[in-house]
């Protein structure tokens, strides 16, 4: 129950130490018989399951139910089932679909640029250059900072009069009076850049770790066969990184599509809805317009679409993997 409000993304998606591999069937080794064992396991887990059931599984189910009601966020809520009304109304809601389109543009461009820039930096950090330590530490900082602070910082950078971005553009003779976050044409690209700044480090670090796992002999063999750097990259590096690229791309896409905090503090969806990500739209529908049921329907549609897209992507990757 985390992604869109997630502020510190879970750093290592899975275990931070080792792979969690234990000898096969370790449970049976330490004393006791099957049933006692199971009772023990249940006893250990119930305390963590209870709050989770109460605060994430139950709300999730209630959330889906809400989507079929006309619930409103008022002091004495009275609501009744209205079937698929909310969903049919959604079909006609141009603003929702526009936010959906913006969310797609945002997620695709941030994820794509994150991958390209992250790959570039990972390759640089993998080759023998100076300043690696500095770059590595710098690469971690965007990831660590609270999203609110990141947004405040970039608002200062983009500031139309006293901001360094316009000053730098002016210094080289380019137009220097752009109000980046308030201009219809620049707002979305401007927030995308911040999204890339925040998201690139994690991609870089992951790819770098992957690069370090590729056996050096593979590259040497390719060199001996006369492959140049580009050829070595496409024939050896990329295929070896493929599983990593697949998993970070799909996870990053979902995280980006679900993002909220960064853009909310940067623009609140403005100007004129040009940066209205779907999560912002749903939030405003629920907590400003107070239409809980309707907002829940939006949430359900978004979840379904993300799951479908992700399955399609993973399926295509799976197929490609099989053909090789």
């Amino acid at each position: 129950m985390t992604a869109s409000g997630r502020t510190t993304r879970a750093p290592g998606r899975t275990s931070p130490v080792g792979s969690g591999s234990t000898p096969s069937n370790p449970g049976r080794r330490i004393g006791g018989i099957g049933r006692a064992k199971r009772r023990e396991a249940i006893g250990l887990v119930v305390p963590s399951l209870l709050p989770v059931l109460m605060l994430s599984v139950a709300p999730l189910l209630v959330g889906v139910l809400l989507a079929f009601t006309d619930a409103r966020l008022v002091r004495r809520p009275e609501y009744q089932l209205v079937g698929v009304d909310n969903f049919t109304r959604l079909l006609d809601n141009g603003f929702f679909w526009e936010s959906f389109r913006i969310g797609m543009v945002w997620a695709v461009s941030v994820t794509g640029l994150q991958l390209l820039a992250g790959m570039g930096l990972a390759l640089l950090l993998h080759s023998e250059l100076r300043f690696q330590g500095l770059t590595r530490v710098l690469a971690l900082i965007p990831w660590a900072m609270p999203p609110v602070v990141v947004a405040i910082m970039w608002r200062m950078i983009y500031s139309p009069n006293a901001g360094p971005l316009n000053a730098a553009l002016g210094a080289v003779g380019l137009p220097d009076d752009i109000n980046w976050l308030a201009d219809f044409s620049t707002a979305l690209p401007a927030v995308v850049l911040v999204g890339v700044w925040v998201g690139m480090p994690q991609t870089t670090v992951t790819l770098l770790a992957g690069l370090q796992q590729i056996p050096g002999e593979l590259h040497e063999a390719a060199s001996v066969d006369g492959a140049n750097a580009v050829r070595r990259f496409t024939a050896v590096t990329l295929p070896s990184l493929r599983p990593i690229i697949t998993s970070i791309t799909s996870l990053n896409f979902i995280w980006n599509f679900n993002s909220f905090s960064l853009v909310y503090v940067l623009t609140e969806g403005g100007p004129g809805g040009k940066t209205m990500l779907p999560m912002l739209f749903t939030y405003l529908e629920a907590f400003k317009n107070r239409n809980l049921g309707y907002a829940a329907a939006m949430g359900v549609v978004l979840v379904v679409v993300v799951v479908l897209l992700l399955s399609a992507y993973l399926w295509s990757q799976f197929r490609a993997e099989k053909e090789r």
Partner: protein, 275 residues
């Protein structure tokens, strides 16, 4: 060939360093500039005069101290709860196989990608029914649940890294289950517990969305919400104190990530390959 490649690589590296580092430098520089300099049209990175008053101003006037205190309380208590709840569960997850483990890991992975918006709507209704919206107690509960999945996953990794043979040896020497846990597992697990606790603390400290939805009265605001409200009144914003407050808010997370750098990198690899 080589003579061209190296400089090109350094040029690219320099571009990355500027892209990653400049915004941060700018924030720090703004935090010690006078308001006159911040609003002047000549823009410079190195402040003409250093003014530490922005920090004292931020702490004095902006309700930042109160919200920082709220953030600390919420983060500390939810961290304690997360560790207490996750510790036994992580042990079970790492040591017992079967359906239970599959369900547990499945839930953890799903929780990483699920949009919170669909959960916060009903959660808001539930918390309001029991009178816990606009309350730090409610927020602490929510932060606990939302950090739990990943903390559990982290911690089970640390448990799995402790060789089972050590436990067996303890059992062989006649120590009971609890003795084994207390004298063998727990001491070895301590670094993992510390790392997990730090992760839980930083997650709660940085968290924005739940706090935005749940908290209404300024007395209850956490630090991120106060900073956001501060931005809201654009135009008459005191940029210096805002930058100073932001720098202060970023410190705990940056310290955590610097300490954990190596571990995080290792985890990412296994995560990406196996995930």
């Amino acid at each position: 060939m080589r003579a061209v490649v190296k400089p090109a690589q350094y040029l690219a590296l320099f571009a990355y360093i500027v892209f990653l580092g400049f915004p941060l430098l700018w924030l720090i520089s703004a935090s010690v500039k006078s308001s006159g300099e911040l609003n002047s049209l000549t823009v410079n990175l190195i402040p003409r005069s250093f003014r530490w008053e922005n920090f004292t101003d931020a702490l004095d006037r902006q309700g930042l101290v109160r919200s920082a205190a709220n953030s600390i309380v919420v983060a500390l208590i939810s961290t304690g709860l997360v560790v207490l709840i996750a510790l036994p569960a992580a042990y079970a997850l790492a040591r017992f196989r079967g359906l239970f483990r599959t369900v547990g890991t499945g839930w953890i992975l799903v929780s990483q990608v699920f949009p919170v918006i669909l959960i916060i709507l009903p959660l808001f209704l539930i918390l309001r029914t029991i009178g816990l919206t606009d309350s730090l107690v409610g927020l602490t509960l929510v932060h606990t649940t939302y950090t739990l999945p990943f903390a559990l996953w982290m911690l089970q990794g640390y448990v799995a890294a402790i060789p089972n043979e050590l436990e067996e040896a303890g059992a062989m020497d006649g120590a009971g289950r609890l003795r084994v846990l207390r004298d063998i597992v727990f001491p070895l697990l301590m670094p993992g517990i510390v790392a997990t606790a730090m992760f839980a603390f930083v997650s709660s400290w940085n968290e924005f969305f739940f706090a935005l939805v749940l908290l209404q009265s300024p007395d209850n605001y956490t630090l991120p919400i106060t900073l956001k409200m501060f931005v809201g009144g654009e135009g008459k914003v005191a940029l210096g104190p805002l930058a100073a407050g932001s720098v202060l808010a970023a410190i705990p997370s940056i310290v955590f990530f610097s300490i954990m750098q190596k571990k995080l990198t290792g985890g990412l690899l296994t995560g990406a390959v196996k995930g």
